[in-house]
Symmetry: C2
Subunit: 383 residues, 2 copies
């Protein structure tokens, strides 16, 4: 077969299969915390696709872009001069890496975390053999500080604070966690995979958010994902680390490649997503992100209002651009919406659906969705 024909046939096959996917650009994915990347992300990604940051001396240019991206994020999170950063594939690897550092530093076993911790901690428990000490939630769905205090003991490897929970976008009382951990000399990891690109701008927009980052002296590490609210492409998370020396805890000798040691979990990793996240950061800048967050929050409030109008209650008043919509007939609503090509994520134990107002979600999409949600709820007897 002619080579070009073969190419065309394969691309046609891929296109045909892809029709079965939902797409971010359609606006019909309403429950994911991932996003349709900014157009400049794709362009930059492709340019650096074949580079390998796991073999850094082959790609000193790409390595420089990585440093610039880490500098942008470190600055966003008020990281001190002594800090370091590790590019990771996303929140899960960020959490694993943070726990790896903590375990190496203090050789202890128990992670104290709330019931709304991301499920990656169950992987950490299984892979690393660490024990999860679960703390109940307050009525606002945050970690209960008084319960937490009782669980601290000489075997505590780390405490987890959540800045933008997976379920509802809630923010734990990080200043209190920081004080406790600072006083008790405990490792405090903040999972800001979702909130890391949101909270700094909420503050600038005069939302009343307490500090959550390295301004708090008890915070040890923060995980933040550019492929979530950083408006960039998968896979790109970053773990920012208060003391860059701690990265040595995850470094092993690496014969056969161009660096003597390699830190972090991944070996080979493309510079593509790094260049993408950097290009978006450079394109939007702090001002651009601020406008983006302002817009997402506007649409969140708009959606909240529209949901109220059709009589659907929220689990809590949104802290950020995440809405938990309470439903009695959860499965029926979710399945029917899915059949009608709308995807919301289901949170069984809260009996709610999660709607996330990501950058690609417009008021027009909400205006299209709300009547469909209302009709669906009526049809299954929810309303």
């Amino acid at each position: 077969m002619h080579e070009n024909n073969k190419r065309t046939i394969i691309m046609k096959e891929l296109d045909a299969i892809k029709k079965n996917d939902f797409s971010f650009s359609s606006g019909h994915i309403l429950g994911s915390m991932c996003t349709q990347p900014h157009p400049i992300a794709k362009e930059a990604y492709l340019k650096f696709l074949e580079t390998n940051l796991g073999d850094p001396e082959l790609f000193p240019g790409t390595k420089e872009i990585e440093s610039k991206l880490i500098a942008f994020i470190s600055d966003l999170l008020h990281a001190p001069k002594t800090s370091g950063g590790q590019i990771v594939s996303g929140g899960t690897e960020g959490n694993i890496t943070a726990m790896w550092i903590a375990k190496q530093l203090n050789k202890k076993k128990e992670i104290i975390l709330s019931e709304s911790a991301h499920f990656s901690f169950k992987k950490i428990e299984s892979i690393m053999g660490l024990k999860l000490v679960k703390i109940p939630l307050t009525k606002d769905y945050n970690i209960d500080i008084s319960s937490l205090k009782k669980k601290i003991n000489t075997n505590t490897v780390a405490v987890l604070g959540i800045a933008g929970s997976t379920e509802l976008g809630t923010i734990d009382p990080i200043p209190e966690l920081s004080d406790i951990c600072y006083d008790e000399n405990l490792f405090l990891h903040i999972d800001a995979a979702f909130g890391g690109y949101v909270i700094p701008f909420l503050k600038e927009l005069n939302y009343n958010n307490p500090d959550f980052d390295f301004l708090l002296k008890g915070v040890s590490t923060i995980s933040i994902d550019a492929h979530k609210m950083g408006y960039s492409a998968i896979p790109l998370g970053t773990l920012i680390i208060r003391d860059k020396k701690w990265l040595e805890q995850t470094s092993v000798e690496s014969p056969c490649i161009s660096s003597k040691k390699q830190s972090g979990i991944f070996g080979t990793r493309s510079g593509g997503p790094v260049a993408a996240a950097y290009a978006v950061a450079k394109y939007l800048g702090r001002d651009g992100y601020k406008k983006l967050i302002e817009n997402c929050m506007d649409i969140t409030h708009y959606t909240e209002e529209k949901l109220r109008e059709i009589g659907l209650p929220l689990v809590i008043k949104p802290t950020m651009n995440v809405l938990g919509v309470k439903l009695k007939k959860l499965d029926k609503v979710v399945n029917k919406l899915s059949k009608n090509n709308w995807k919301v994520n289901k949170i069984d134990h809260l009996s709610c659906i999660r709607i996330v107002i990501m950058p690609q979600i417009t008021k027009q999409i909400i205006d299209e969705f709300i009547p469909i949600l209302k009709k669906t709820c009526e049809e299954v007897g929810e309303l």
Copy 2:
């Protein structure tokens, strides 16, 4: 600033920084086991860039492509019908996942592996708290079977066989390892990150290679990287698992996403590299890969001959498309080559450089390189 201007300025900045990178397409990267991806890989990657296989019900099409890719690789490795596959980011994650499965299955602690095991096992030791029991190498740089037998004990979690070592491309005596592990009921993981796309075709090309894959009843898991000799883009590895039920050992409940459970280490992961590897597999097919390997081996033999002509000895006769060139003045040669824009990888403890004949390396490139290598060796007093 006009939006389009901003875009242009950022792309110019990226292009300028990228000039500091070495590139696969230039042919001057001679030591890496990564490759310039096949053109169809890039095209397919971009099409699926924003899909997230960590949230599979949103992307049933992409999920289907993943299944097709796993089927292709399973077939290549003679995996039984009961087998399963897990897409991973590369060899490191493949090795970690295999050891995670083994540890969950038997709750033991000691990995038996040779001194040429990839450095990712040092990460495994540190992250998972498993102990590495190092077995010396034979004069052919393979695991010493009699030493290995003495180290097996009731605490053995897994045995590692290497099918294409990082250093020299050597292949351990996998049939013997398989017999031992089958008899002793031990978990046998094969690291074929590099060799997995090579050895099956060497056999078809009448090289005298013993079996290394699931044809051997003692083999439990095989790690194989499409972003190495699969001629595709980073990050794409696959772990093929003899019994798909074992994947449950790495599965945790995953609220907030569209699947009830998620297996494997990482959460969010793009379908881009999956579609890329599938497109390359479809484009080349088994015949195309066979021709590719035949060509790489031809150039390997050609390079071997040229090296002999200029008087540089090899560490061993190449098993596959990897050459270890012995040098007394290792650092001086490598540094001087690097200054002249040629990159070979340095293996200190063998006092050799590694040259890997990846798909983008042509005879013309070797013809260009050999005189430069000769001149460099003469200048530093190696020759």
